[in-house]
């Protein structure tokens, strides 16, 4: 799906290309590949079901209970198996072996003579009970489980009929209650599965797209920084950070750059001010109130809100939160860095804008299809590589390597300029255009290799710089 709404935002690169417009990415982008498959949520769910069934089989437990235990262990089969054998896994979800036996049956709707609901204190005749047979009115159950679903907390869906009953409502109980609750439950468990397998599944960030990129094991082992994918919806993104692609630099620098220079700053402002990422799974967490003992609802990691370290580290001798560091985003020698930032961001912006404008050249008069299909994409691609190379130049300190990179950039830039003029000109010089784009391709490929393979020394002032 292509979106026009973002076309004004010149950092949203991928939306500016048409479907039939092929990137001339040297080697890192390849749609006929062995690295990934484009799959849908059903595929993920099938994979989830296999995992759940395996664990259910292994311990002779019911499938819904297997799901709950796996979620409690953030789908870490090995850890769950280990602790299950040691008899510690059930306690993690507040259950005992006896409860497990009772939970083999699912709950049921019941029709009864009028009685008072322990939750809302209204009189009811239609109730619901888990396998423990403690009853509450059906409305309260529906509301309670509905709210648990929307908060994503499926591990503490306790019996409503009796306050000291430990039984947990499972998929079976959700199913007994309603179709909506059941499908909501399935969506949540699939989402949990997807999130815990983020090294092999990447949900496409394309607007409205539900596809998922499944990485084959060979790619999951590699440094994803350098791999760009194109989803079936047309969205092209970096496998490492899921942002638009940013060769020849790595995700961390690209994201720093986006933060100080891009639109993302505006979008992220609220998140940055109000939330912190979970130190383990990076889910964004907002603490509204309560103590520093945090438990991530997504991966169940327990940590301290002050120092973001594992909570258990606060036991023993570490009661004082000695890890606490007030967020010291030191604002180093602001003025010089600010000037440098301006210098590089002007170059970044203008290349991005040009890369978009160059694509439109083909609406003009050029007649040779071959030229259009090769030179135009190459030029556009070159501009984007140049843009991100300027970002790299902003962050690295002076060295021979930097000088070499600067020389390449200026050479590539002047040739790209020549190509742009030829394309826009009246002369229809097909041969020189093709020749120039061939030259640019080679130069750009070398530049990417150089940029990626050099062990750059980063400039501390630039790294910590935040515009005031």
């Amino acid at each position: 799906m292509m979106s026009d709404t973002t076309s004004e935002d010149h950092y949203e690169f991928s939306d500016q290309f048409d479907d039939d417009f092929d990137l001339q990415d040297p080697g890192n982008f390849d749609s006929d590949n062995n690295y990934f498959n484009i799959v849908n949520m059903e595929h993920v769910k099938a994979s989830e079901r296999r995992t759940v069934a395996e664990i259910a089989d292994l311990f002779s437990i019911m499938v819904p209970m297997s799901t709950i235990l796996l979620m409690a262990y953030f789908w870490n089969r090995e850890k769950l198996s280990e602790e299950y054998i040691e008899g510690r896994a059930l306690a993690k979800v507040g259950l005992t072996d006896a409860d497990l036996e009772v939970q083999r049956k699912s709950g049921q709707k019941v029709q009864c003579s009028p009685r008072t609901c322990p939750i809302c204190c209204d009189t009811y005749t239609r109730g619901f009970q888990l396998a423990c047979k403690h009853t509450a009115c059906i409305k309260c159950y529906e509301r309670y489980l509905g709210e648990k679903l929307s908060s994503g907390d499926l591990l503490s869906t306790r019996c409503l009929g009796q306050h000291d009953c430990r039984l947990v409502a499972t998929l079976d109980d959700f199913r007994e209650l309603s179709k909506d609750l059941e499908s909501g439950y399935l969506e949540k468990t699939a989402a949990s599965y997807l999130q815990s397998h983020s090294s092999s599944f990447k949900a496409c960030p394309g607007p409205g797209c539900t596809s998922i990129i499944e990485l084959t094991s060979s790619l999951a082992m590699l440094d994803l920084d350098q791999y760009m994918v194109e989803c079936s919806c047309g969205k092209r993104f970096c496998l490492g950070c899921k942002n638009d692609w940013h060769l020849p630099i790595k995700c961390d620098l690209a994201s720093r750059w986006m933060n100080i220079n891009g639109e993302r700053m505006k979008n992220n402002l609220w998140l940055d001010k109000n939330t912190k990422p979970c130190p383990k799974c990076e889910a964004r967490i907002e603490r509204t109130e309560g103590c520093n003992h945090m438990k991530c609802r997504t991966c169940h990691f327990e940590y301290c809100w002050m120092c973001m370290q594992e909570w258990s580290a606060h036991n023993g001798m570490f009661f004082k939160c000695v890890h606490f560091q007030p967020s010291a985003e030191a604002k180093h020698s602001g003025r010089a860095t600010s000037a440098r930032l301006k210098h590089y961001s002007i170059r970044f912006d203008s290349n991005i804008i040009d890369s978009r404008r160059d694509v439109n050249v083909r609406d003009l008069t050029f007649s040779s299809q071959q030229v259009l299909n090769k030179a135009v994409p190459t030029l556009s691609y070159t501009r984007r590589i140049l843009a991100w190379t300027y970002v790299l130049l902003f962050y690295v300190t002076g060295s021979n390597q930097k000088t070499i990179l600067e020389t390449s950039v200026s050479d590539i830039e002047s040739h790209a300029e020549t190509l742009a003029e030829l394309l826009a000109g009246d002369e229809q010089a097909a041969a020189p255009c093709l020749e120039l784009s061939g030259y640019l391709e080679t130069r750009v490929e070398n530049l990417i290799t150089h940029a990626l393979e050099t062990n750059w020394k980063l400039d501390r002032n630039s790294l910590t710089y935040t515009p005031s």
């Binding site: 809302c120 204190c121 309260c140 907390d153 409503l160 309560g290 103590c291 003992h293 004082k320 939160c321």
Partner: protein, 153 residues
């Protein structure tokens, strides 16, 4: 502002129970102008450094109660590893172990039980917890002193 909503039956019932059949050692009185806001007192359990003290707390039932837990805070200063200097309480049933099947009554009993059994392994007041772990006799002495100084009836 919209007109105040009728108090849910559940809250009315719990309030009645608290007033007519109070738990020994615990009182809970709703404010006249806000029936979701309670003045609470809990007496320190016997055989603990809190014995003899009457501790004041405030309790508020949020709009979504009982789907959401009540909000509770100590108003009286107390030296306890799971209660910080603002009176906030680190107790699982007030957080992710809350269930709508629990009540004001059961929660207050849990708080009383927390006074009897501090858990320095899950501290809210880090410095208190540290002392509790390193020098328990001294910690108990301090807790006793604070009870005398701040929680005497």
């Amino acid at each position: 502002m919209s007109a105040p909503q009728a108090l849910p039956k559940r809250i009315v019932k719990e309030t009645q129970m608290l007033l007519t059949d109070p738990v020994p050692g615990i009182t809970a009185q709703p404010h006249d102008d806000n029936l979701r806001y309670f003045d609470v007192t809990v007496s320190g359990p016997a055989m603990t450094p809190y014995e003899g003290g009457i501790f004041k707390l405030e309790l508020f039932l949020p709009q979504d109660y009982p789907m959401e837990p009540p909000r509770i805070r100590f108003l009286t200063k107390i030296y306890h590893p799971n209660i910080d200097r603002l009176g906030r309480i680190c107790l699982d049933v007030l957080k992710d172990h809350w269930s709508p099947a629990l009540q004001i009554r059961t929660i207050l009993l849990s708080i009383q039980a927390l006074l009897a059994a501090p858990n320095p392994d899950d501290p809210l007041a880090n410095d208190v917890a540290a002392e509790w772990k390193e020098n328990q006799p001294k910690a108990l002495e301090t807790a006793k002193e604070w009870t005398k100084q701040y929680a005497s009836p």
